[in-house]
């Protein structure tokens, strides 16, 4: 028996503080469609980036046709026959489909592009794929689905032996999805091995021959699709390791503090969202990436304005028209991706903490006096922010301490609603526990806490109940008695 097309053996990938992949095996045969499923952060994208030479694995090897290969970069991987269609499109928006398809391989004479030959070759490629796409308009004027197909055609023209597709149907209509599937079947008949990453389990069952389930960077299960039911796959995806890192205790629940009614903002894809959080409650907001959870937070916090719908705090209509208005109403947001949205990296720890309520930290508009240093010092001590000096740039702190700074800046003035968006992303276990403790303290003080988290065990352990969003809508609410990772995930995936 000949050796498989691709074998990835014992792949491990370490990032500072995180093991993203841990001893992962993957085998792909010719003409096989191999689905990879897993939660957000399970390691799917990292695995793809190892295969395409973006990352060099810490351990393990890659064999093609039984021979070891070292992918040094994406170009090299492509030369070895690995073509990747990434989730974010990699087309040049102002070039036509034909130009994009042949980008980097343009037929040219003495450095001058041969336009007719470009058109012909692109047309031939598309007709080979049975695709009918207009060749002469810039791709930025095409539908998302057509763009995706152009992207695939571009890779297909390079005749890869392995084709990797990362969430290819995320932006496609049903009809477009169908033509994509046809295309993939055609590749399969030609003996191309296909690695298919998807959140949609029904697609996996419809399309794939084999499936690998990743969980926390490890292979949780692998086998032919027929061996599994969707319930079994969901169960495999969920992390069962509920270690002692969560701090949760019952807090007496009071009156309703936050009520969101029929919030709609079509510009960012939110439709008719309602929810309610009472004093002392920590309410989770679950969903897959792109479900609209951070977008909902941005509307409640006044960053984006709702088309209609209202936001109430303590029974008063406060529907914010700006961030300062939201803050005045006592709505505070600890945003996701602290480096991009939460921190002014070039500024000091002190300047970051005092920023939202700087007026309260200054006399006569002068900063850096004891009116600022003393309370900031107290907050830093209370939250155990480890910095040599309060005047050190916040960029010199560890991730966990940076996150504590992002929380600390909202603790200077009592708030009513605290929205935590992925508050423990990329921080160590010790700091995680401290962030949970802060959330608990806030709830105990009688505020409402809304926790957005893609970390299912965290969401389940910390929340009193969980709302689940899907595609910009509220997909369901899970009460405490029914709360489990499985229940959240099933609701988030939908249609399973």
């Amino acid at each position: 028996m000949d050796s498989p097309l691709l074998e990835m053996k014992g792949i491990s990938m370490d990032f500072p503080g995180v093991r993203a992949l841990d001893d992962v095996d993957l085998t792909l045969r010719r003409g096989e469609i191999h689905a990879i499923v897993g939660e957000n952060g399970a390691g799917k994208s990292t695995l793809i980036k190892v295969l395409s030479g973006v990352y060099r694995p810490t351990a393990g090897k890659i064999l093609m046709d039984g021979k070891e290969v070292q992918m040094s970069n994406p170009r090299h991987a492509l030369a070895c026959g690995v073509g990747v269609v990434y989730q974010d499109r990699t087309l040049v928006p102002f070039l036509t489909a034909a130009d994009n398809i042949l980008l980097g391989n343009e037929p040219a004479r003495y450095g001058v592009l041969d336009r007719r030959s470009i058109q012909e070759r692109a047309k031939k490629a598309l007709s080979m794929l049975n695709l009918s796409i207009r060749m002469d308009v810039p791709v930025c004027e095409m539908s998302a689905g057509d763009q995706q197909l152009v992207d695939i055609a571009k890779i297909a023209l390079m005749e890869p032996r392995i084709m990797v597709l990362d969430e290819p149907t995320a932006a496609l209509s049903d009809h477009e999805t169908e033509s994509l599937f046809k295309l993939l079947h055609q590749f399969r008949r030609q003996g191309v091995g296909i690695v298919y990453i998807s959140h949609h389990l029904n697609e996996v069952f419809e399309m794939a021959d084999t499936v690998t389930v990743l969980r926390n960077g490890q292979v949780a299960g692998c086998g032919s699709v027929g061996q599994f039911t969707s319930t079994e796959i969901v169960r495999l995806m969920i992390d069962r390791d509920l270690g002692g890192q969560y701090v949760k205790e019952a807090v007496p629940v009071g009156d309703e503090v936050l009520r969101v009614e029929n919030l709609t903002c079509s510009r960012i894809g939110l439709e008719n969202i309602s929810l309610s959080v009472r004093a002392g409650e920590i309410v989770g907001l679950g969903g897959l990436m792109g479900a609209g959870r951070s977008e909902l937070a941005s509307v409640i916090f006044g960053v984006a304005r709702a088309d209609f719908g209202r936001v109430y705090v303590d029974g008063q209509d406060v529907t914010p028209r700006s961030v300062p208005a939201a803050i005045r109403a006592g709505i505070y947001l600890v945003p996701e991706k602290r480096r991009e949205y939460g921190l002014i990296s070039s500024e000091s720890v002190m300047a970051n903490i005092s920023l939202p309520f700087l007026r309260d930290f200054t006399k006569w508009g002068i900063v850096g006096t004891s009116a600022e240093r003393a309370p900031v010092g107290t907050l830093m001590r209370d939250l155990k922010v480890k910095a040599r000096r309060a005047t050190d740039p916040v960029a010199t702190l560890s991730g966990g301490n940076q996150q504590k700074v992002v929380v600390a800046k909202w603790l200077a003035k009592p708030g009513r609603v605290f929205i935590f968006d992925e508050p423990t992303q990329g921080i160590d276990v010790g700091a995680k526990t401290e962030v949970y403790q802060m959330m608990l303290n806030i709830a105990r003080d009688g505020a409402a806490v809304l926790l957005i988290s893609s970390d299912l065990p965290e969401l389940v352990a910390m929340s009193d109940r969980v709302y689940v969003m899907r595609g910009g809508r509220m997909a369901g609410e899970i009460e405490h008695v029914d709360l489990s990772g499985e229940a959240v995930l099933r609701c988030a995936l939908g249609g399973v």
Partner: protein, 331 residues
């Protein structure tokens, strides 16, 4: 650390030497731009006896006073992450405006305020275009500068406005307080005020926050548009003030008088960003940049070097300084 280690003492000596060298390297990285200024001063003072004389030092300060004011304004808008390409033209239009009113017998104080007011109008227009319409400040200020130049030429027909100007106005550019020229005092006040506002006030803190991370600043509830607009306004006002002082020094309103400041002001501000290790713009840094440019201009003139060489050497020094700052290890 390669090669076999020698005897104990040698190793210690090498280690001590290593520590010393490392500390020296650190000092050079930390204070490179200041050391550069010092080197220039030492160089010119050995090459020319006149350089360090009191009269020449006052001369340098008077020469840089307008540049320092215009560059201080520019620093404000660079702190919020914007840029102002119109400062030269706006300085000119402010000077022409002031002189043309003086010629008609309008009192000095009102004429000066009107000059500053015209500059402020351009600043406000930039503020609206950048923060409300969403145009990049590069484009908005480039256009504002172009409009200012056009208006100035239409108004003056390209001619300088000469007349006997009132003594109060002449004092601004040519007067003395004791032995210190008036423009040097104005410069000192504006630089000190600018440094204070940017480093010690809430306004300055907000501006730095916006320049550091505009999204995070907005999510902290800061009125981002207001402070960006303020940066652009201060930039225009600085240009206007410098243009008016220049008009007083020249004793006339000239349509392109202040345009020469444009490149030097930008150079000074970029040099200034290399003064502090974190690479943030600061008024004090900009002032050191201004000093460097002033010393080069003055020193080369004293040595009788052609004017064209001054431009060439300034260009080379800026590239050197910014290259060193780029290579500088961060923290």
């Amino acid at each position: 650390m390669d090669g076999p280690s020698g005897s104990g003492t040698q190793a210690v000596e090498r280690a001590v030497g290593g520590v010393f060298r490392e500390r020296l390297t650190n000092i050079i990285w930390e204070y490179g731009t200041l050391i550069g200024l010092l080197v220039l001063v030492v160089f010119f003072s050995t090459m020319s006896d006149a350089f360090l004389r009191f009269g020449n030092i006052v001369n340098i300060l008077r020469q840089i006073s307008m540049l320092a004011i215009i560059a201080t304004g520019l620093t404000f808008c660079m702190v919020t992450g914007d840029f102002d390409l119109g400062i030269g033209s706006i300085g000119s239009i402010a000077g022409v405006m002031t002189v043309s009113l003086l010629v008609r017998g309008v009192p000095t104080i009102i004429s000066v305020l009107a000059g500053l007011g015209v500059a402020a109008l351009f600043g406000l227009a930039n503020a609206v275009l950048v923060t409300r319409v969403g145009i990049s400040s590069f484009i908005s200020t480039l256009a504002a500068g172009s409009v200012a130049t056009g208006v100035t030429f239409l108004y003056t027909q390209g001619q300088a406005i000469y007349a006997q100007l009132p003594p109060a106005f002449e004092f601004i550019g040519r007067g003395y307080v004791g032995i210190i020229p008036a423009p040097v005092i104005i410069m000192a006040l504006i630089v000190a005020l600018g440094q204070f506002v940017l480093s010690r006030t809430r306004t300055g803190r907000y501006m730095h926050a916006i320049g550091g991370n505009i999204t995070a600043a907005r999510l902290s509830g800061i009125a981002v548009s207001k402070y960006r607009g303020l940066g652009l306004l201060f930039s225009s006002l600085g240009a206007g003030a410098a243009g008016i002082i220049l008009a007083s020094r020249l004793g006339s309103g000239q349509p392109t008088a202040a345009s020469g400041f444009f490149l030097d002001a930008i150079s000074a501000a970029f040099l200034g960003q290399t003064v502090l290790r974190d690479g943030r713009p600061s008024v004090i840094g900009t002032f050191i940049g201004v000093l460097i440019i002033g010393v080069i201009n003055n020193g080369l003139t004293l040595l009788g070097v052609s004017y064209y060489w001054q431009d060439i050497s300034k260009g080379i020094i800026i590239v050197l300084a910014v290259t060193l700052a780029t290579l500088r290890p961060k923290h």
